[in-house]
């Protein structure tokens, strides 16, 4: 290919996307970091004033910031103790030979494709003191267990975490199912000949061979928990009294409710750094382990 002509073509192919991506993605990211050292009240023709690290001090002085980190921790924990076992069980069901598995797959999967706002609002109504959840409890004679699920500060975050699991189990089921389908049947057949029962097969074949999928799940669980927004914004708005705040809702409220755009940007910077560190760290951990494994195989 004519070199000069090729460079022209490369430029035509590359530049529009590269330019838009830089303007709409990279530039704002840099601005978030830069503006986190400035004060700004949100009025467009009022200039920024340099403020040193005061925004960060204010961020760290805010008790809700620590609560928001704790809440992200809860989302991560729930991914492993709630979503993982349920999604894996559902995946075992929909990849088995049972009748009606197509119906079940659709049923389990539907919540995770619905608009977050719509299902969030739906749950808001179902969880009210006179909503479906409490009515069901009363019907089964469990009136003592009824609560104002979203109104009690100590309880609200756990309620949202469970709703979040309801939303995302299906998506994770699909991820696990794609891993399960990839395991060749011959291995199971060979194990059957050796007299292995279902539990043995799960423990010695399925789980070890799903290692890569579990890694994907782990990265997903952590990074997705850092970016939780819609669930909280729609269902509780961060309330009651900041009990369900996460960094994203804190950022939104500081900036667009209280006009503390500087503090909002320092939270944004914190999120960018956290996301980059977590992704790089997890990639490093998972790839170094698989490298070690490869070496082990060669040796």
């Amino acid at each position: 290919m004519n070199k000069r002509k090729a460079y022209g073509a490369i430029a035509i192919l590359l530049l529009p996307g590269l330019l838009l991506y830089t303007i709409a993605f990279i530039y704002p990211a840099i601005q978030t970091v830069y503006q986190s050292f400035f004060d700004w009240n949100g009025i467009f023709n009022v200039p920024l004033t340099f403020d040193g690290i005061n925004n960060y001090k204010e961020m760290l002085d805010n008790p809700n910031f620590y609560r928001s980190l704790k809440n992200v921790g809860l989302f991560i924990a729930a991914s492993f103790v709630l979503i993982l076992p349920i999604a894996l069980s559902l995946a075992l069901v929909v990849t088995s030979r049972m009748r009606g598995k197509r119906f079940f797959k659709v049923a389990f999967f539907i919540p995770s494709i619905l608009p977050l706002t719509s299902v969030g609002l739906m749950w808001q109504f179902l969880l009210k003191s006179d909503g479906l959840v409490n009515k069901l409890l009363e019907m089964f004679g469990l009136s003592s267990l009824t609560h104002d699920w979203l109104g009690e500060p100590a309880l609200a975050i756990y309620t949202v975490v469970v709703v979040n699991a309801w939303i995302y189990c299906g998506q994770n089921m699909i991820i696990f199912a794609s891993g399960l389908v990839a395991i060749p049947d011959e291995i199971y057949e060979a194990a059957s000949l050796d007299g292995a029962n279902s539990f043995h097969k799960l423990k010695h074949i399925t789980l070890p061979l799903m290692k890569e999928i579990f890694k994907v799940f782990a990265v997903l669980a952590v990074t997705q928990s850092i970016r939780v927004f819609g669930q909280i914004y729609v269902i509780t708005g961060g309330g009651p009294n900041g009990a369900t705040d996460v960094p994203t809702t804190l950022l939104y409220n500081e900036a667009f409710k209280f006009n503390n755009f500087g503090v909002g940007n320092s939270i944004g910077t914190f999120m960018i750094v956290a996301a980059l560190v977590v992704t790089v760290l997890m990639n490093f951990l998972t790839s170094s382990r698989s490298r070690a494994k490869k070496k082990g195989v060669q040796a």
């Binding site: 090729a6 073509a9 719509s118 109504f125 970016r227 950022l251």
Partner: protein, 275 residues
């Protein structure tokens, strides 16, 4: 495949299906009731009278019909823009051995890692300073760009697997790079393109945050915003129409899913790499 014991698996599956579907079914029945019925009826009862009027209220008063249209106005061109730009970039990344390829790939990969919410303040500031609030073209471009990193990732990976011998014979026949991409390579990349397309479509269609901060004109609200403001106005005074609004915003998504079932499922497991 593990053989599971039949009965316990069925019991487990049915319980799970009820937990995942019943809230939706209950919302559907509630969407046809009035407040008195919702509060007094047992949780399993059908509506006494099927009040389809609730749907009319949601469609007209809450402007849900307009909102569904708006969501499509954002999502279809936004997805199209994302796919065209991503195809062009993926073509360069997978077809040309440039010294900057590694850098470019990582430069776009940053977009997979950075939470897009962290960009809301600078973006709203620039958009405000340029007086570009309430602009369809701006929203479409922004949405398209935000979906690019994942699309580039999926499409480049797939395109690398397409034999380069095709290119060579096409070039010998006098086919230029741009025609080569759009007439020969792009159709062969369709599986990855449609996966990326479905994912972008859902993401844009369901967006909440950008509509909240960049749109103030009610006639431009997407489904999320229209529903939020409808519920904000109604509160608990009109539960029936509120549930009707929720059902109306849910149904198009279910229809798209059932139409493109395989693609959506493939997309979500591929999209997992992003989030």
């Amino acid at each position: 495949m593990i053989k599971l014991k039949r009965t316990p698996v069925y019991v487990f599956s049915v319980i799970a299906a009820v937990i995942f579907l019943y809230p939706l079914l209950y919302s559907f029945f509630s969407s046809l009731k009035d407040n008195v019925e919702i509060y007094n009826n047992s949780v399993f009862s059908l509506p006494d009278v099927w009040r389809w009027n609730n749907y009319k209220m949601a469609l007209v008063d809450a402007k849900i019909s307009r909102a569904i249209l708006n969501s499509f106005i954002y999502a279809i061109p936004g997805t199209f823009l994302c796919l065209v730009l991503s195809l062009m970039i993926a073509f360069v990344l997978s077809r040309y051995k440039l010294r900057m390829n590694g850098f470019l790939y990582n430069y776009f990969a940053i977009g997979l890692m950075i939470p897009v919410f962290s960009l809301m303040i600078p973006i709203s500031k620039v958009v405000g300073a340029l007086h570009l609030f309430n602009s369809y073209p701006l929203m479409i471009v922004l949405y398209g760009v935000f979906e690019m990193p994942l699309a580039i990732f999926l499409i480049t990976g797939y395109m690398k697997g397409i034999s380069k011998e095709l290119d060579e014979s096409a070039i010998i026949d006098g086919c230029g790079p741009i025609r080569l991409l759009f007439q020969i390579i792009a159709p062969l990349t369709m599986p990855a393109v449609s996966t990326a397309g479905i994912l972008s479509f859902f993401d844009i269609y369901n967006d909440l945050v950008w509509n909240v901060i960049l749109i103030s004109d009610q006639n431009m609200n997407n489904i999320s915003m229209a529903l939020m403001s409808f519920v904000g106005q109604q509160g608990s005074s009109q539960l029936g129409p509120t549930f009707a609004g929720i059902m109306l915003t849910i149904v198009p998504t279910i229809v798209v899913y059932l139409l493109f079932q395989e693609k959506v499922e493939k997309g979500l497991s591929a999209g997992a790499v992003k989030e």
